[in-house]
């Protein structure tokens, strides 16, 4: 089995050989490595994408200005994700939901959008077909399927989501109260010790 270093290096070179600039090829190498590390089929998807892109004309992406992006052509997952990555702060300030019409191999968006999540400080929800993927600040990926993953989807939504808690407030409060049991009550004697006093709160 190949090491992740070998996967990254080989995919970077393969991307370069397929016409990507060295800078974008570096992004691709890291993306495929990242997919493989989290157990998603990075090599297979990139391999199939390269074959597909040879046969099909993909959209030559210009600046993403709005939430709604439509084209006669199919969007390229690599050019799209790199364009979003580079402009993510501005893009997600203006748009909560960025949509694209037809896009090929959307799985390849995941690693780069996960980095975007970290940069903008918000989770990102990626949805296509029946698949939902939540990207958590480049720390983890939550996905509702083990595949198969489509090679082409008719629409895709990339939403920045505010970190809605997964719990009731009273559940957190219960735990907080319990945590107080590790604290020590201040006595008069302790209050005169080191640290700011009661009147020293300016």
């Amino acid at each position: 089995m190949e090491s992740y270093y070998e996967i990254e290096t080989t995919c970077k070179r393969a991307a370069r050989a397929s016409g990507f600039s060295w800078g974008v090829a570096e992004e691709i190498g890291k993306a495929v490595r990242s997919l493989e590390m989290i157990g998603l089929p990075g090599i297979k998807t990139f391999h199939d994408y390269l074959a597909y892109s040879k046969k099909n004309k993909l959209e030559n992406l210009s600046l993403i200005n709005s939430g709604e992006n439509k084209s006669e052509n199919i969007f390229c997952p690599i050019k799209t994700s790199v364009a979003i990555l580079d402009d993510c702060k501005k893009l997600f300030l203006k748009n909560k939901d960025i949509r694209f019409s037809k896009i090929a191999y959307p799985l390849l968006l995941i690693p780069t959008l996960n980095r975007v999540s970290n940069i903008i400080g918000q989770k990102i929800q990626l949805s296509f077909d029946e698949i939902n993927i939540v990207l958590n600040y480049n720390q983890s990926v939550v996905i509702n399927t083990q595949g198969p993953f489509p090679s082409l989807v008719d629409s895709i939504s990339i939403k920045s989501i505010d970190g809605q808690p997964s719990y009731e407030k009273n559940q957190y409060n219960d735990l907080y109260k319990l945590s107080l049991e590790t604290f020590v009550e201040e006595s008069e004697g302790k209050l005169s010790g080191a640290g700011a006093g009661l009147t020293d709160n300016d």
Binding site: S21, L61, D87
Partner: protein, 559 residues
């Protein structure tokens, strides 16, 4: 970054514009920061064991060594084979070697040894797994090996003078780690405290290999003549290192890892800054410096090279050190003594001499310098993402601040773009060729940094200054890799070599020398502009002496 010293004086870090020229970087010497030395310091309390010894009378077979501390173990599995003289080549692409080695995480079982026996000697054609950490192969220096075996078999010690000319029994070629050929990726071990320093596993492998070479000569001599053979004297064994032939494959490493390069250089510069800022210097400290200066000058007499280039550098160093000694001997101890010494050195000595003295100045100050070794690694991925929302004018400004030297260079002129770096299909390594005489420049590696940053400068100067980097990149993705570098250089000023590595005047071995000096290599012996031989671990404690090491071994010699 400034270090306050008494009397409110400051010693600045040396600027990148002074240090990052290739001629200066190619004059660096080993120091307390070198990886061979930090390996010995880190592992000196580990227990060394020979786990398995199975060599035949010719010295062929397998040996397993281990280093152990509490429940942790690392092992080296050595495979020694017969090799016909006609098959012996130190080239990376050679398919057969006298010996091959693999560093194993833990203690290998017999099935691991068998699996690796079927793969490791095959090198590039073999496969390893995440349980293996580093890989190498080595060839005998036949004349030295035979001389030692024959001498020991006859019951006498080998000729020290003869040995000092070579300095080793075996030469390794590349030492692979970090995911090559299926080996464990760096992230699998990077959180282990004992592996925090750069190339620690590779240094461990070479240290074990040195032990193997000594065991193999002793065993072979004994098998040759059991009644008369003697063991190699520890004083001689200790002064034998491991040779290494290093070619261009290593050169792009320092270009491909800009943040790491910064960490290495920065550690050295901070060490110098701290030492120059010492207010009161003791006579004891000066004594340590002087002792190592004398030993080094003595050792230099054993440096042998046929290279005109290196001979010139060595002679300049010897001449400068002679003048330096005269100056130093007359010097009275004053406040900020080392600062005064450094200023004299930088005004009166050539690059080789300046950097030699900088290394030597660290010797009395282990407590100040050694902790800097922990800052010599970095998580490079943290600095990979381009801040696309920044205005393009920032890029222009960074280039004007940090890459000023390349702005006047005309990359339309042939002499400035003579060479191109490529990845050789046959040799499976980066190589350098003349763009105007050889094919293949369409597959040039992204190593024409100066040319492409100048191109970036010209393109971005034409672009709207308030536009964002993201907007610029949409139509300029071919410059993406250098945009990334420029942004890295803003945070890490020692990340870039400030020379054109495609010019017809480039001396590639300067790039090798820089890296090898950080390894801790000595006896630089260029065999051409493109490759050189060096020695590692010469003088280092033998495994049973490691725990007594006081880190002074780099100055020992056979003389």
């Amino acid at each position: 970054m400034k270090t306050a010293i008494k009397n409110k004086q400051f010693v600045e870090l040396r600027p990148a514009s002074e240090i990052m020229r290739l001629s200066r970087l190619g004059s660096f010497h080993q120091s307390k920061l070198s990886f061979l030395r930090s390996f010995i310091r880190e592992f000196k309390d580990w227990e060394f064991k020979t786990e398995y010894f199975n060599l035949d009378s010719s010295g062929y077979g397998e040996i397993v060594y281990s280093l152990n501390f509490k429940e942790k173990s690392y092992s080296l599995i050595c495979f020694a084979n017969h090799l016909d003289a006609s098959e012996r080549s130190d080239r990376v692409i050679a398919t057969k070697w006298d010996s091959s080695f693999v560093l194993f995480d833990g203690i290998p079982k017999q099935e691991d040894i068998q699996r690796l026996k079927n793969n490791v000697p095959l090198q590039e054609q073999g496969r390893t797994t995440y349980k293996e950490l580093a890989l190498s192969r080595a060839n005998k220096s036949v004349r030295t090996f035979e001389h030692v075996v024959n001498s020991l078999a006859e019951g006498k010690q080998p000729d020290k003078q003869f040995l000092s000319k070579v300095g080793y029994l075996y030469r390794t070629t590349a030492v692979y780690g970090s995911g090559k050929f299926g080996l464990a990726d760096r992230f699998r071990v990077s959180d282990r405290p004992e592996l925090k320093g750069p190339f620690r596993l590779e240094m461990m492998l070479v240290y074990f290999v040195r032990k193997f070479t000594i065991d193999q000569v002793n065993h072979t001599a004994k098998a040759k003549n059991p009644s008369t053979a003697v063991q190699l004297d520890d004083d001689i064994a200790r002064n034998l290192g491991i040779g290494n032939s290093t070619g261009l494959g290593m050169a792009p490493f320092i270009v491909n890892h800009p943040t790491l390069l910064h960490q290495w250089i920065s550690a050295r510069e901070r060490a110098l800054q701290i030492i120059r800022s010492i207010h009161k210097v003791s006579n004891e400290d000066i004594g340590v410096f002087q002792k190592y200066l004398d030993q080094s000058m003595n050792n230099m007499e054993t440096w042998v090279t046929d290279s005109e280039f290196q001979t010139k550098k060595n002679n300049s160093l010897k001449k400068d050190l002679k003048n330096f000694k005269a100056y130093f001997n007359d010097l009275t101890v004053r406040d900020f003594f080392w600062n005064e010494v450094y200023l004299w050195v930088s005004d009166n000595m050539e690059d080789e001499g300046i950097e030699f003295i900088v290394s030597l100045m660290m010797e009395p100050y282990g407590e100040l310098v050694e902790p800097l070794c922990h800052d010599m690694s970095i998580d490079e991925d943290q600095y990979f993402t381009i801040e696309g929302s920044r205005p393009t004018k920032d890029i222009k400004k960074i280039i004007e601040n940090y890459y000023q030297w390349l702005i006047p260079v005309n990359f339309e002129e042939k002499e400035n773009i003579t060479n191109f770096w490529y990845y050789s299909k046959n040799k499976q390594e980066p190589r350098l060729s003349n763009r105007f005489e050889e094919d293949g420049s369409e597959n040039e590696l992204p190593l024409a940094i100066a040319r492409d940053i100048k191109k970036l400068y010209l393109e971005i100067s034409k672009f709207q200054s308030n536009a964002t980097i993201a907007e610029f990149l949409l139509s300029n993705q071919e410059l993406r890799y250098v945009v990334r570098r420029v942004l890295i250089c803003e945070k890490f000023p020692y990340s870039e070599i400030q020379d054109n590595t495609t010019a017809d005047t480039i001396i590639p071995i300067d790039m090798l020398r820089l890296k090898l000096s950080y390894f801790g290599a000595v006896r630089f012996d260029p065999r051409s502009d493109l490759w050189l031989r060096i020695t590692m671990y010469q003088g280092a404690p033998l495994p049973h002496e490691m725990k007594f090491s006081d880190d002074s071994w780099a100055y020992r010699s056979l003389n």
